[in-house]
């Protein structure tokens, strides 16, 4: 199951009424949203959304029927077992692909960001950015892991020649196993205009 489908299933299955609805679906051959809603004393829209979501995940099948020319759906369980396995590898692989790019990075000039060093001064402990404009301007503080902090400590200055992520990691003595978290912070800081890539 991919992450998005798992998220849909997770969010609906965590509802208070989910168990009752599934009990109805197991008990009935098929059931309409209005029948289930009246049976459980829920709002029809709530039940309809739940059933539609489950149908989109192929846990239920739906069949259109007519009652005095007015169509509606009846839902039936496709399976009595829901297997929720989430594969996180695709997320990791996306980042691995990014790392293989030849892009070189450095801090953007006038990025309007404040870097704070750790107590021993050997790495950056957090980054404070300003988000928004005018009166809505807010400070966002990102606390960094030690490998991320070491990486940012060695990030080329705005006036320096840009370097590849691999070279900076080597210079900062950051282990290869921390690549994904380093790439994550690089991605965030590129989005906020703190890092420029070439």
């Amino acid at each position: 199951m991919d992450f998005k489908r798992a998220a849909i299933l997770g969010s609906y299955i965590s509802k208070d009424y989910a168990e009752d609805l599934f009990r109805l679906l197991v008990t009935y051959q098929d059931i309409s949203a209005s029948e289930a809603a009246s049976r459980l004393n829920l709002h029809i829209k709530t039940v309809q959304d739940f059933l539609e979501a489950m149908a989109s995940l192929d846990i239920l099948s739906k069949k259109e029927v007519l009652e005095k020319k007015r169509p509606y759906y009846r839902y039936a369980l496709n399976t009595r077992y829901i297997d929720m396995k989430i594969d996180l590898n695709p997320l990791f692989n996306i980042k691995q692909q990014e790392s293989k790019s030849t892009k070189k990075i450095r801090e953007r000039s006038n990025a309007g960001v404040r870097f704070s060093t750790s107590r021993d001064g050997q790495y950056i402990s957090h980054v404070a950015l300003w988000i928004g404009k005018g009166r809505d301007r807010k400070e966002r503080r990102i606390n960094l892991s030690i490998p991320q902090g070491k990486f940012l400590f060695h990030l080329p200055f705005p006036s320096a020649e840009p370097m590849s992520v691999e070279d900076i990691m080597e210079k900062a003595d950051v282990n290869e196993t921390h690549r994904s978290e380093v790439l994550d912070i690089v991605k965030v800081l590129v989005e906020y205009g703190v890092i420029e890539s070439q």
Partner: protein, 266 residues
């Protein structure tokens, strides 16, 4: 000689000095005795400041300044409180010593023995930099690595402090040399330095440099920031190497060669 730093501006200490002088002159017109008492207070304050600087830097030349200013304070208090003719001999003795110590103070000032070297350090760091490229950042930069023992680092720290090149601050695992420390922090024995320009030597031999925004904008041009940091780091590394070879006087010669004026710090 072309300077890369802007001309020094009037600092808060300078303004306080000018205001005190104006008040002294006004009081002199209004009441001679009160003016002398005010002058005594000012010189006493100056003596206390010099004493604190002496304690913080261990620069022995400031002891001359402390004694000279204390004598001046005693002399002015004497004039304000007593009749000169009654204690003529005392006054002559104090005045003689005061003139002697003040003369020594002036001589040492001309010899740059009591001169803070902040501007000279910033000027020296900028000497090899010709590239103009704004790249200011709040991040420090690791500029180099060298081998030294803890004792060597402490000796070097003592040298840098005595020669008024920077104020060393002992951190968790390193010694941080704070350049251009404000007088207020110096007098308050404050160890706060992160917003200032500094060069740190850690116990593993890493040399890290930070140049503050205030100091960076003291330059006429927006010099390449990374090169400037590297240059300041190299300067300190060079100083340490020279000091370890027993050539500490060469460091001072290098600073004096810039021929910057003997008083201003900017």
């Amino acid at each position: 000689m072309y300077r890369k730093l802007k001309s020094p501006i009037l600092t808060a200490e300078g303004i306080i000095g000018i205001v005190a002088l104006v008040v002294f002159i006004v009081l002199l017109v209004l009441s001679y005795k009160i003016a002398m008492a005010f002058g005594a207070l000012i010189t006493l304050t100056a003596a206390i400041i010099s004493l604190i600087i002496l304690l913080r830097t261990h620069n022995a030349y400031f002891s001359v300044s402390v004694i000279g200013q204390l004598l001046a304070s005693c002399f002015l208090f004497g004039i304000a409180l007593y009749d000169i003719n009654t204690y003529r001999n005392w006054f002559i003795g104090i005045a003689g010593l005061m003139v002697l110590f003040m003369t020594l103070m002036v001589i040492f000032s001309f010899q740059r023995k009591m001169k803070w070297r902040s501007r000279e350090m910033l000027e020296l760091a900028a000497l090899p930099i010709n590239e103009i490229k704004n790249g200011l950042t709040t991040r420090p930069m690791q500029t180099g690595k060298m081998d030294y023992s803890l004792e060597e680092l402490q000796d070097f720290s003592s040298f840098i402090r005595k020669k008024l090149i920077a104020i060393p601050v002992k951190d968790q695992n390193r010694i941080v040399f704070v350049i251009n420390i404000p007088l207020g922090r110096l007098l308050a024995f404050s160890g706060k330095y992160k917003d200032r320009s500094w060069v740190a030597f850690d116990h593993d031999g890493n040399v890290t440099v930070n140049i503050s925004q205030t100091d960076y904008f003291m330059y006429k041009d927006l010099l390449s920031f990374d090169k400037l940091c590297r240059s300041l780091g190299d300067l300190f590394i060079g100083f340490m190497e020279q000091y370890r070879r027993g050539e500490g006087s060469r460091v001072i010669e290098q600073l004096n060669s810039l021929q910057m004026n003997i008083i201003t710090e900017g």
